[in-house]
Amino acid sequence: MAERADTLAGKKSNNQQLINSRLVKNIRKHWVLYLMILPGIIYYIIFKYIPLMGSVIAFQDYQIFKGILASPWVGFENFRFLYNYEDFHEVLRNTALIAFYQLIFQFPAPIILALLFNEIRILIVKKTVQSLFYLPHFLSWVVVGGIVFELLANQGIVNAIREMFGYAPILFMQEESYFRSIVVISGIWKEVGWGTIIYLAAITAINPSLYEAAVIDGANRFKQTLYITLPLMLPTITVLFLLNIGNFLELGFDQIYNLLTPMTYSVGDIIETYVYRAGVLQGQYSLTTAIGLFQSVIGFVLLWIFNRLARKSEQGLW
């Protein structure tokens, strides 16, 4: 047995050597390609992989002047602290709730809109409507946030309309009860049009003969949509859903940061805005890195679970 293991190991190292010598030859022959990709690899190591590995400071009491190597290790101390930390509970609850609302309202919106676009037969109307819907995607959240604040201000147009109908003005942006709805609606407004593009591509790829056959069988437009278009969009929907769920708790710093005011912290402060304030501004690096790590782990677990479910119908990501 031992002998066999030896020869196996020998074979393995032989293979290794073979690969190495092939690699050396490959580098010699195509050194230009290796030279080309070098800057890219350095970029990925410095700005993607070092920060990823830097997450270990979640298990340290990181001190800036000592650095990662000399800072003391504390095991799960930061996570234990978070478990009993009231602020963290609030931030986590806000993040999960907004994420959930986005999933329910914002995720299906472009699917529905794509189906409605698909029913427009007059080409110029379709083009115009689509162009208008795509526009907000290119505005920054600073601008969109500014627009939202201006429209919903005390002297803004929404309150002007309310007054026309005899209602008292509301300070929307300062009221806790409106915050999450504003986040979801502004998110839909900005991204719904752009989100349709992928679905429209999926619809275009559907074989027209399917519809012809359905018409012969007497199916009307609604039934065609229900039994042909939607089922054939399902793979696209599944993939986008999975990509979405992997970032479930990452709501996007820009949007929330630009809509949040101190008055709405209790309902709108999310993980990313909190990590920015407590980490970047106040220097609680280890604690906030622990929060970030927690967020990533949740995202990955959700992705893994839903991917398993999707795989049952052979539509998983992997």
Partner: protein, 289 residues
Amino acid sequence: MKLTIGERLFQVVNYTLLLVLASTMIAPLIHLLAVSFSSPIAADSKEVFLIPVEFTLATWQHILQNEVLWRAFGVTVFITVAGTFLSMLFTVLTAFPLSRKEFMLRRPVMLMMVITMIFNAPMIPFFLTVREVGLMDSIWSLIIPGLVSTFNMVIVRTFFMSIPKDIDDAARIDGCNEFRLLFQIYLQLSKPVLATISLFYAVGYWNTFKTAVLFLRNPDLWPLQMRLRAFFTSEEELAAVDLIMGDFDFNTTTLKAATIIFATIPIVIVYPYLQKYFVKGAVLGSLKE
């Protein structure tokens, strides 16, 4: 094909609904444009909808004379031009070897890069890394940490791979090395894709905000979006713009409206011409997934 009554009714409802919703995509901008040309009294007494009331240019005269805003505009133009150029260079140089079968490390390097699409660099370690590298309070912190978008790189790589290999053979006979092959042949053949990707990068740089929040403490270096945010959040910032608030030709409402329009105009102007490239890019990206 004859439509049933129900279908015809649906068509009417659908057209109406979509036209109304589509107009809400542009109406807020038109409204703010109207506010920016209205007198402050009209703007604050809720009289302005889509047409200026008591038309005045005072707000715009004031905005366009604001040096702070123009400096931020300059920063944004610089990072958009320099950033797009550098991003394209790095993206193309990375995508090309990854599209070549003879590049032996193609698979592992590709995997290494695609993995970062699922595992994002977390905010705090990212922040600490950029600080260690010495980019804090440097204009380059808006460009270098986000130089390559893996998504865009994958699109370019896919396009390179679709170019027929006959071209390579022809080039090799001419004694072309791989640098010349990329820059003189592949790039010429990929112009539409490169245009699309450059636009994605350019819009990203124009809208740069988060990196500025993280890395820039010095207001002189702030890009446009950051400056806007400062205007929106503190009345003093805006008041600092107008030294004489006793002059009532404009107020914070009209100034805010005008700054929003100021930051949006470049995008709205180029948008109609470039829209088809954007859409193409979004579809290209989806095919890959």
